[in-house]
């Protein structure tokens, strides 16, 4: 079972990640399912200027590893890669990459979906949304609190 996680400001190559996954799994891998999240340019009808992601390291990376191993075990996955980007990201920028290798398409799809849901809730990664109508901390799956302390200039 191959697991690789990374929290980084860099933008990775999906081709290289896919090759890495294939190289590190055995010859019975028939399916790779991938999810990529992108910064949306509009949320709740408001223009989004950028997102700022921050992570509580090293525990955020450890949480991603835990999710990857547990889901791989549960669904018989052959390989899992999770890359989460942090820092300033702009509309159209990719935020997260989840790649899952499995013998069949069913395992791969189930694996990638479950991993994404768990990353959203268990990852110690946090999002600030900078929009035309203010700055919002995003808590959990959609709750927003307006930022009440201006960042020092």
């Amino acid at each position: 079972m191959y697991v690789c996680v990374n929290i980084t400001s860099e933008k990775p190559s999906i081709d290289k990640l896919t090759e890495e996954l294939l190289k590190n799994t055995d010859r019975t891998t028939g399916a790779v399912a991938t999810f990529i999240g992108f910064v949306k340019g509009v949320v709740d009808g408001k223009k989004v200027y950028k997102l700022i992601y921050s992570a509580y390291e090293p525990y955020a990376s450890k949480s991603l590893e835990k999710i990857a191993y547990e889901e791989a075990e549960k669904h018989g996955l052959k390989g899992v890669i999770i890359i989460h980007r942090i820092g300033e990201l702009f509309p159209g920028d990719p935020t997260i990459y989840i790649l899952v290798a499995a013998k069949s398409r069913h395992e791969a799809f189930t694996g990638v979906r479950n991993i994404l849901e768990r990353v959203k809730h268990e990852s110690y990664i946090y999002k600030l949304e900078i929009r035309e109508d203010g700055e919002y901390w995003v808590l959990g799956d959609g709750k927003r609190i307006q930022r009440f302390k201006e960042q020092s200039p």
Binding site: Y56, I96, K120, I125, L139, I145, K149
Partner: protein, 85 residues
């Protein structure tokens, strides 16, 4: 005794990203006593802790409220995660 506090997301509005507290007037302090002390020092923290769900970790682990902090411990105050997309 030195305790480092790390705040994330909405908690940084009150605490900043990181602060270091020196507890000199007592031998030991439990996690809940420490959070009470923080709440006295930083107005708005109590209200926020009542308003939203949160997790407090000590050195990356979930611990009981009565857990006694030790010199050099890192206490993190975290709202619900919003990674992914």
């Amino acid at each position: 005794m030195i305790i480092k506090v790390k705040a994330f997301s909405v908690f940084t509005d009150i605490l900043g990203k990181e602060l270091v507290l020196e507890i000199s007037d007592r031998e030991n302090i439990s996690l809940s006593e420490f959070i009470d002390l923080l709440a006295k020092k930083y107005s708005g923290l109590s209200k926020l802790l009542e308003t939203i769900e949160y997790v407090i970790l000590v050195n990356g682990e979930r611990v009981e409220e009565e857990h006694l902090l030790r010199d050099g411990d890192e206490v993190a105050i975290l709202p619900p995660a919003s990674g992914g997309l």
